[in-house]
């Protein structure tokens, strides 16, 4: 089930919220756990067992690690993390890896298609952070299986994050209150997130998809740049919109999640970008991979290697194909270059504008890896961007309409520049204390527009009369 679906908005959310508010505190966590399992099982009726296994296994693992003798703790931790990563590996990486190997070596066998359970990357990493924190002694193992289950499966952040570390929500699982202000703030974040996804991201996605569908020999430079722009804006509004919805839904039920995006396209370096983009994933890798590898404490060469490893792992976490590995490695290489060569320039406040241009260029280039089918296609696409290519047969109006330009321009403003130019706007959007009356019609209009566009997705004609 998606947040941006009529069935979620008109059936699931109001039902769950109303029942939650009517229930006594003692039963609320159990109810949320049941609702979250139903939410997940609705979209993954067969794969819900994998999530349930993760809950039970990591619950027992936490208890076991806490109770274990010191000499066994590390071994148990390695075993538990191995099972978690192994589960992730089987479902996410086995089939694509075998298909890739069979293509390379021309093996002629049938590869079993193992379905990928939605959200497995997120809840697996949450589970790993839990057992590692128990091992480190940062937290006490959760004795209540319901609270543990809720931590792993809570529906607002189950499918697409943000990744919640256990120590951030430990207290909230046991004691939390929900005021009218909390619920209203949650609604505000949810509606803004929904609007970002449905009104902006989905429409930009249609523009980007059309451009990426243009055959290589017909693509020209202007269309290539528009495609990259639309794609990067789409990804930002889609992902940050989803995070806003997750944070908003969490707040409706009394949970305060960490912010996951902080206007990443306002960054002036790749280092700064990764402190603003998908913050929960970046901090997870920093805390549970970069620091254990030694971080920056073991000399410059080792630091650079650690950075590269972390970002290759980040790429692999995003997807199973080689292009994801290349994507992650590209970020790692640029970060190393910034650290070794460009630090002085990027830190100079007088060079903010060139720094920002440099950063945006890097984002544009690396994103091409993400949105082309393979590295060869990415290379051709980049060449079209930078070596002027014209195709008189391809009209710009075929690629993007007037409304498309308006939408793109609006998206460019709303991805950070407007908030930077008008600080009161940013404060108003994130103000936790006050909902203003003037904001209510805006929010309701955005909600209505989003529902209208979502309804359009229900149009499902049977086109084929003969085949």
């Amino acid at each position: 089930m998606l947040f941006s679906s009529i069935i979620f908005l008109w059936i699931f959310l109001p039902t769950v919220f109303l029942i939650y508010r009517l229930l006594h505190d003692r039963f609320r966590n159990l109810f949320l756990l049941i609702a979250s399992v139903v939410f997940y099982a609705w979209g993954e009726p067969k794969m819900v067992n994998v999530m349930l296994f993760s809950i039970v296994f990591n619950y027992l693992a936490g208890l076991g690690i806490e109770k274990a003798a010191p000499r066994w703790k590390k071994l148990l931790l390695i075993l538990c993390v191995g099972v978690d990563l192994g589960t992730l590996g089987i479902f996410k990486y086995l089939t694509p890896s075998l298909l890739t190997l069979s293509r390379w070596f021309e093996w002629d066998f049938v590869v079993m298609n193992v379905s990928l359970p939605i959200g497995i990357s997120f809840y697996t990493f949450q589970a790993i952070s839990y057992v590692v924190d128990v091992y480190r002694g940062t937290i006490k193992a959760q004795k209540n299986p319901i609270d543990m289950g809720l931590y792993i499966s809570f529906f607002p952040q189950l499918i697409a994050g943000p990744i919640i570390k256990y120590h951030d929500v430990e207290q909230q699982l046991e004691h939390r209150t929900t005021t009218w202000n909390d619920t209203a703030y949650g609604i505000r974040r949810f509606v803004y997130g929904l609007a970002k996804k449905v009104l902006i991201a989905n429409q930009l996605g249609a523009i980007a998809d059309d451009i990426f569908a243009i055959p290589g020999q017909a693509l020209d430079s202007s269309a290539a740049w528009i495609g990259v722009l639309a794609f990067n804006l789409q990804v930002y509004f889609d992902f940050s919109g989803y995070s806003d919805m997750a944070i908003g839904l969490g707040r409706m039920f009394g949970f305060r999640f960490m912010e996951n995006f902080n206007y990443p396209y306002l960054a002036c370096s790749v280092r700064e970008f990764w402190q603003r983009w998908n913050i929960s994933v970046f901090t997870w890798f920093r805390e549970y991979l970069y620091f254990p590898l030694g971080g920056s404490r073991k000399g410059e060469l080792r630091t650079c290697l650690n950075i590269l490893l972390v970002f290759v792992a980040t790429g692999i976490w995003h997807g199973a194909a080689l292009s994801f590995v290349a994507w992650g490695a590209a970020w790692g290489v640029v970060l190393i270059l910034e650290r070794v060569l460009l630090k002085k320039f990027l830190d100079d406040p007088r060079l903010r504008i060139p720094s920002r241009l440099y950063f945006l260029l890097v984002v544009a280039l690396i994103s091409v890896i993400f949105c082309t089918p393979d590295l060869a296609a990415a290379g051709r696409y980049v060449k079209t961007m930078f070596v002027w290519t014209d195709n008189p047969a391809l009209r710009l109006s075929d690629v993007i309409t007037g409304w498309g330009w308006l939408l793109t321009g609006t998206a460019v403003l709303l991805c950070g520049p407007l908030q930077q130019l008008v600080p009161p706007l940013r404060r108003a959007l994130f103000d936790e204390e006050h909902i203003r009356f003037a904001e209510i019609p805006v929010l309701l209009a955005l909600l209505a527009a989003s529902i209208l566009l979502l309804a359009g997705n229900a149009y499902n004609p049977f086109i084929y009369f003969r085949f």
Partner: protein, 394 residues
């Protein structure tokens, strides 16, 4: 009491309270208000999706895994105010992106044409204006690969013929609206391919009957294409079959359409382009069939998937066996192939590969492809084996 009243007033002055109330009212309200049995909620048919709406599924424990999908599909068809919301949404999003309706040109006399200007994968104007012409290198490579297939099949005593179903616009360009009167290219992609083949592979038979269609249009009072669909009708399919058979040595010739027996054959509502365009229920379109004296139509047997359909006709005048590799256009050709040949097998959406002919090969192979889908020939490879094995022996 006074304290309670004060609390209520304070709540009513709190914008947070109103936001929560109105938000959930917006989510719950439509379901509360909606009554599908009440006539005032039933719109004059704003949409036509060419399918039946799904029924509400019953929850059964033993089928619980299928319930979410089935309920989701049902709710997708039945949520409150669906028809109004979908209609309004399509009106708004149409100008924003290349939505379905933007892929259709509305021509004169109800003629619809398909357009795809960005990817140009199914772009009739692109073919018409010559935008989709291949460069010399690619076109030659395609011809050489088709010729290689012909030669290899000839070694197995198999005849090979390619037929290109013309775009509707190639035949009915006079039906284009005035504001979309494209400039016709001196030569289009299909014509260029035929000319290239004639030059470098004269034994390769590529049939492109657009000119025959245009000539025949003027001689008979019936259309050769469906107005609201991208496909030809049975009359167009009959003409194409006739041209294919003429190209195959030893074939039994069909009479020309203008002297054949054309009979009404029921009606159909709308078509694929009409569905893409959206809107209310379309008018009916008359269908036709061609009867040839002395030849009988046989039923088409369908396998468990669309990848194979067959006709068997022991009384057919031509006792050879034919395999037709096809797209959707050859579906209308099935009765006429079945009329002529003893056994015909139709394979949909797959190309001929050497590995298909190892066992029990046919006498004739026909590759049918629509003009706007000619890009599909760019990866034609008779020798490719692994993928062919998977897709053919499914």
């Amino acid at each position: 009491m006074r304290g309670k009243v004060k609390a209520i007033i304070a709540k009513l002055k709190d914008p947070a309270f109103w936001l929560v109330l109105l938000f959930f009212a917006a989510l719950i309200g439509p379901s509360v208000v909606w009554d599908e049995t009440d006539a005032k909620f039933r719109a004059k048919k704003l949409l036509w999706e060419n399918r039946a709406t799904r029924e509400k599924p019953l929850f059964q424990i033993r089928r619980f895994q299928r319930y979410p999908k089935e309920f989701g599909e049902y709710y997708n068809d039945a949520f409150p105010f669906r028809e109004y919301l979908v209609w309004a949404s399509r009106k708004i999003t149409g100008p924003l992106n290349n939505f379905y309706s933007a892929r259709v040109i509305i021509g004169k006399d109800g003629f619809l044409f398909t357009v795809d200007p960005v990817s140009m994968r199914h772009d009739e104007p692109g073919d018409y204006t010559g935008k989709t012409l291949w460069n010399d290198h690619l076109e030659s490579a395609i011809v050489r690969r088709l010729e290689h297939a012909r030669q290899e099949l000839a070694k197995m005593n198999i005849q090979f013929c390619v037929v290109i179903a013309p775009n509707k616009m190639a035949v009915y360009d006079d039906k284009l609206p005035e504001k979309r009167r494209f400039r016709k290219a001196a030569i289009n992609r299909a014509e260029s391919l035929v000319a290239r083949a004639a030059k470098i592979a004269p034994e390769l038979k590529i049939v492109y009957p657009a000119e025959v269609f245009r000539e025949t249009r003027g001689k008979i009072p019936y259309p050769l294409f469906l107005r609201e669909d991208s496909h030809w009708n049975a009359l167009g399919a009959y003409m194409a079959t006739r041209e294919v058979v003429k190209a195959i040595p030893g074939g039994v010739e069909l009479p020309p359409l203008e002297s054949a027996q054309i009979e009404p054959a029921g009606k159909v509502r709308g078509g694929d382009l009409r569905v893409m365009l959206g809107g209310g229920t379309p008018e009916e379109t008359q269908l036709y069939d061609v009867k040839v004296p002395g030849m009988k139509t046989v039923p088409v047997a369908e396998r468990t998937d669309y990848h194979r359909r067959e006709t068997v006709n022991p009384d057919a005048p031509d006792k050879r066996r034919v395999w037709v590799y096809r797209d959707s256009f050859a579906a209308a050709m099935e009765p006429y192939f079945g009329m002529l040949f003893k056994e015909v097998v139709f394979y949909w959406n797959v190309q001929p590969r050497r590995v298909h002919f190892v066992k029990d090969p046919p006498d004739i192979v026909v590759l049918e492809i629509v003009e706007r889908g000619l890009a599909g020939l760019e990866d034609f490879d008779f020798e490719s084996s692994r993928k062919a094995r998977l897709e053919f022996f499914r």
